[in-house]
């Protein structure tokens, strides 16, 4: 192991909130500011609160015109009943499996690519980088139809022959849910930016020690970009968990439905059972809210880095 300067890389462009020295007396303007911000924050949070409150009301109370805002008795059993009304637990499990798979694959594959594009000079590396940038700009709706066709006509899958005819390909399979969305150009781009900021001495010393390129990536450089790993992991998990269009297109069977699609189907089939629907929606929302509260710093850094780099 090389003894080199292992100072932490400076986190790119997300300046620490700066502290103001000295306390000032509270001015009327400041009070007005607090009140305005509180009202706005309340408006942002009220729909979430209303969701949870509704999920704990009885159907009678929901249907009644003159019931109070809060439930007269808190119906925690709604959650148990909702799980019986629709397989929300299965939906959530499916979403979780897909989101975890996406997260692991994206962090692995995109970090390798980002590292190679940032630190290794090879023929065509610039061209490849610009290809990823171009890929970043393709609207989802331009690529989603042919993506669906590729899945549908995937050769030798789901009863298809070598030309992709005869069966249903990857439709209604885990493959379709996981593979097409596994690696994002955005993650490649983000990783590249982070690896670019690492000091060159680090890698030179490792190279002198005779380490191969892959080991330099895995053992020396990647431990230095842990914030990037966390950021990409959180953002990938979030967008995978929240994705709706793609799973809607490629799944038909109930057992493969993800939570977002499951909710929309439940809405269509049992539109008036608001207590169950809101219980399911709470279930779909809660993991992201928790994840955000825990990893807020990384979310913020990720979005801000994406914005300013």
């Amino acid at each position: 192991m090389a003894t080199v300067d292992t100072r932490k890389p400076v986190a790119p462009s997300t300046a620490k909130p700066r502290e103001r020295g000295g306390r000032r007396p509270v001015s009327p303007g400041r009070i007005a500011l607090y009140i305005t911000l509180s009202v706005i924050s309340l408006l942002m949070v009220v729909p979430f609160v209303w969701m949870v409150i509704t999920s704990l009301k009885s159907p009678v109370e929901i249907a009644s015109q003159d019931a109070g805002l809060l439930p007269s008795s808190w119906q925690f059993s709604n959650y148990v009943d909702a799980f019986e009304a629709a397989p929300f637990a299965t939906y959530a499990r499916n979403s979780f499996i897909i989101a975890i798979s996406h997260t692991v694959l994206n962090v692995l594959v995109a970090s390798m690519a980002g590292y190679a594009l940032a630190r290794i000079r090879f023929r065509g590396s610039e061209v490849i980088f610009y290809l990823f940038i171009a890929a970043l700009m393709i609207p989802t709706y331009t690529k989603v139809l042919p993506e669906f066709l590729i899945v549908r006509f995937m050769p030798l899958a789901g009863g298809n022959d070598i030309l992709g005819q005869g069966g249903s390909g990857w439709l209604d399979t885990w493959w379709a849910l996981i593979i097409p969305g596994a690696v994002t150009p955005f993650a490649v781009f983000l990783f590249r930016q982070f690896y670019l900021d690492l000091p060159v001495e680090l890698e030179e010393a490792a190279r002198l020690d005779g380490l191969g390129e892959f080991r330099i990536y895995a053992r020396i450089m990647t431990p230095q970009v842990k914030p990037a790993l966390t950021t990409v992991a959180l953002l990938t998990f979030e967008s995978s968990w929240n994705n709706f269009l793609w799973p809607l297109l490629v799944t038909r069977t109930d057992s493969l439905r993800v939570i977002q699609v499951g909710l929309s189907v439940f809405k269509t089939e049992n539109g008036t059972q608001w207590h169950f629907l809101m219980a399911g929606t709470t279930l779909a929302t809660l993991p992201m809210v928790l994840l955000f509260l825990i990893g807020q710093r990384y979310f913020v850094q990720g979005f801000a880095t994406a914005g300013l780099k």
Partner: protein, 280 residues
């Protein structure tokens, strides 16, 4: 290089190939079951006569026009308020950003319930002050404003966050120098803050427009494009053409129009903003 290979292969198969396929299929008649037939520019000609698609373009522009600039203004104001170093800034920031990390489907379901004409929260609150609220989402005049409100509500967080990060990276010395020279706060805002925020503004504008142009989930849940196509968007028409009418060639042609419009906006914006790109 071996390390880029997996990502490159993935992008080629799931982004490169689809884009090429979309361009080719746009000139065909294709229903998935039978082989595509080359029809030249027919799809594009059909689009000109397609009143619903035209309506969807207008709707998309209206939706974008109202959600993006309003959202940006609110986002900037919020960012500036939070940048004043007040206490509990973290709580405000979290509250405003929360809708951004939540699934649009979940958010749309909650708003569907809030907008419920019979006993939704909105009309319940309105009835307190004696107003008989309309059936928000099934009224041709109220459906679009209702959808726009949800769009603004969900999008503010991201815009605020990017502006906040940009504000925090502005050099403090400039403001100190300006204060010494006797420039007022308002003057400082227009002469220092706003010009320096140009890259952030450009970025927020482009990303917000791209995502507003591709709104789909909330339309699917809230209105199904109705009533009378008053809230249908380009993305929704693409979806309908392909998966309800099985006109895949036509849908690809529509998706190319969306692509070209987005590229056009990006280039025009870049020109107007003076070719600013993010720093570093």
């Amino acid at each position: 290089m071996l390390m880029v290979a997996p990502a490159l292969l993935h992008a080629s198969l799931w982004i490169g190939l689809p884009v090429l396929a979309a361009v080719v299929l746009a000139f065909t008649k294709y229903d998935v079951l039978t082989a595509p037939q080359f029809v030249g520019l027919d799809n594009f000609r059909d689009m000109l006569d397609d009143a619903v698609f035209r309506k969807s373009i207008v709707n998309t522009v209206v939706y974008t026009f109202f959600t993006v600039p309003f959202g940006m203004l609110l986002g900037l104001l919020l960012a500036m308020a939070l940048h004043t170093g007040l206490k509990a800034r973290g709580i405000f920031r979290t509250a405003v950003f929360l809708p951004q990390v939540t699934a649009t489907v979940a958010i749309a379901l909650v708003w569907l319930w809030i907008y419920n004409p019979g006993n939704g929260l909105f009309n319940a609150l309105l009835s307190f002050i004696g107003i008989d609220g309309p059936a928000w989402l099934s009224s041709t005049s109220w459906a679009m404003p209702s959808v726009i409100l949800v769009g603004i509500w969900q999008g503010i967080g991201m815009k605020m966050l990017i502006y906040l990060a940009a504000l925090q990276s502005l050099p403090r010395e400039l403001y100190e120098a300006a204060s010494v020279d006797g420039a007022s706060k308002v003057r400082q805002f227009f002469s220092i803050t706003l010009p320096l925020l140009k890259p952030a503004t450009f970025f927020v504008l482009i990303t917000s427009m791209i995502s507003a142009f591709q709104s789909f989930d909330q339309i699917y849940i809230l209105t199904d494009g109705g009533p009378a196509n008053s809230t249908t968007m380009m993305t929704y028409e693409i979806y309908k053409s392909a998966f309800r009418e099985f006109r895949v060639g036509y849908a690809c042609a529509q998706s190319l129009v969306l692509f070209v419009l987005l590229m056009g906006f990006t280039l025009v914006n870049r020109r107007i903003m003076g070719g600013t790109r993010g720093h570093s």
